[in-house]
């Protein structure tokens, strides 16, 4: 077992052994959260991530009070919130604002009324990546594997629901499966992110790379690639900078993401201006369109 762990961690020989597991934990999340963010943005639900992050932080703190690791308590609370959101069909800014307020109020009240106190509440806000151990690493890895297995399937259906919102009902498809699946997956991702990267760090990693993808990319796959690429690049830079300058990781990550976010202010090269001619048509007999999905459901 030790040999296996050693071979997994050997490429990180340059890194202090103390920080190798936290590094890998954060790296897995830096791949997953931007992809989830792109899907949340596709559903116009990116603000829901902030609500889930607050609720996850509150339930993580509650979990800590009864002896559960933050990542477990946070995930359980966020899953409950994701399930409630799905069952109550709670969508829209008002619903997400209430999630934020409930989460914030609970977080502050639990912090004030348990032995854990304000310090731990603030730790959850700032992120505890460097204190992450095997539980956090295993949870992040499982989340990454779950996303790898389900996001292509989910993404196709969510894209279709975006373009053709009544297709599912018209064809009597069990759409609840993928809408609930997305709610639970995003709740889990945000909860694990909150317990490790911090509340705002997780939210920024969901929002900013996905927004950049939506701003800069052309095509859905390119959007996901840009989002994940930006998320990983920002994470690597933040990890290095926080260690090099002895700064708290969460705020550094948010600052780096804000800095990368300025790339989104660049003008897009494919934006047509009024009066521009139409793009050149493709050849008269283009190949058939490769299918994105083999099934109806």
């Amino acid at each position: 077992m030790e040999g296996l762990i050693g071979s997994v961690l050997s490429p990180l020989g340059w890194l202090d052994p103390l920080f190798r597991l936290p590094f890998l934990t954060g790296l897995a999340l830096a791949c997953v959260l931007p992809a989830l963010g792109a899907l949340l943005m596709l559903r116009e639900e990116w603000l829901a991530a902030l609500g889930l992050a607050h609720l996850a932080a509150a339930s993580a703190l509650l979990g800590l009070a009864v002896g559960l690791p933050a990542v477990i308590g946070g995930t359980l609370g966020a899953l409950g919130a994701g399930l409630a959101k799905s069952l109550l069909a709670a969508r829209g800014n008002a619903a997400y604002a209430f999630m934020i307020l409930i989460g914030w109020s609970s977080l502050m009240l639990i912090a004030a009324n348990t032995a854990l106190g304000d310090a731990l509440g603030h730790a959850l806000m700032d992120g505890q990546l460097y204190f992450g151990g095997w539980v956090e690493f295993a949870t992040s890895l499982m989340l990454a594997c779950l996303c790898l297995a389900t996001l292509p399937w989910l993404g196709r259906r969510l894209l279709r629901a975006r373009f053709f919102p009544r297709f599912e009902q018209a064809n009597r498809l069990p759409a609840w499966r993928w809408h609930l699946g997305m709610d639970l997956l995003s709740a889990t991702g945000v909860a694990v992110g909150t317990a490790t990267l911090g509340l705002m760090g997780a939210f920024a990693l969901v929002l900013v790379p996905a927004w950049l993808g939506f701003r800069l990319a052309r095509g859905w796959r390119a959007t996901l690639a840009v989002a994940i690429g930006m998320g990983v690049a920002a994470y690597l830079l933040a990890f290095w900078a926080a260690l090099a300058f002895d700064q708290p990781f969460g705020p550094v990550l948010v600052a780096v993401l804000i800095a990368t976010g300025t790339l989104g202010l660049l003008p897009r090269i494919d934006r047509r201006r009024p009066g521009d001619k139409e793009a050149r048509p493709s050849p008269a007999s283009p190949p058939r369109i490769p299918p994105a999905s083999a099934g109806r459901g």
Binding site: R166, A170, I289, P290
Partner: protein
């Protein structure tokens, strides 16, 4: 959505039979009673004055409006595609025309060079009319048994409207189209028959 080629042979008989349908969105009916059938291969127009309830009828067919009375009999295994009157557009839409067609399950490239030019473009760089035309083709090319088009000529210039007419004139096996429009001339040109929708009189 699945291509026609990958599906088993469809059973005989009408795709949809509507008998005495009374439907609406609120507590009281908006349309009906209406009776008609849709046979494979037909292009049927739904015509009526503004507010007559044409879109409500489509909603009733897909189950998003309340049915107060009447019956809807769908052929077993019937698949539907529905083009909304105002297809959803986000402020940022990095998806390309090709992504839209893939999401609809379209396998054949658009028959028009004009549309092919938009396949590689972000959808938020298309004008309202261009997006509408691409959406109409995505719905028609989806290979579903019954295509519901709600005001497909909205925002379209005369050239694009002609293209929609050409799309509808293409032979498509057993696929039928139910087309809502307030433009009677367009319906008379492209449809096999036109059904008039009357508002509920109480």
């Amino acid at each position: 959505m699945t291509a026609l080629a990958s599906r088993p042979k469809a059973p005989e008989g009408p795709l949809l039979r509507v008998e005495g349908l009374v439907a609406g969105h609120g507590a009281s009916p908006a349309i009906g009673p209406l009776s008609f059938t849709i046979e494979p291969g037909e292009v049927i127009g739904l015509w009526g004055a503004n507010g007559a309830g044409k879109s409500t009828l489509l909603d009733a067919l897909v189950g998003t409006a309340h049915r107060f009375a009447g019956t809807l009999v769908r052929r077993p295994g019937l698949t539907l595609a529905y083009q909304e009157q105002q297809p959803a557009r986000l402020p940022l839409m990095p998806m390309t025309g090709l992504d839209l067609l893939r999401a609809a399950g379209v396998l054949d490239p658009p028959p028009s060079l004009r549309l092919r030019a938009w396949l590689g473009q972000r959808l938020d760089t298309l004008s309202g009319g261009e997006f509408q035309l691409l959406h109409v083709w995505a719905t028609l090319g989806s290979g579903m048994d019954l295509i519901l088009l709600d005001e497909p000529t909205n925002n379209l210039d005369p050239g694009a409207e002609t293209l929609v007419g050409e799309f509808l004139a293409k032979p498509r096996g057993g696929q039928a189209v139910l087309l809502v429009s307030h433009e009677r001339d367009f319906l008379d040109r492209v449809c096999h028959r036109v059904v008039e929708v009357l508002a509920w009189k109480g």
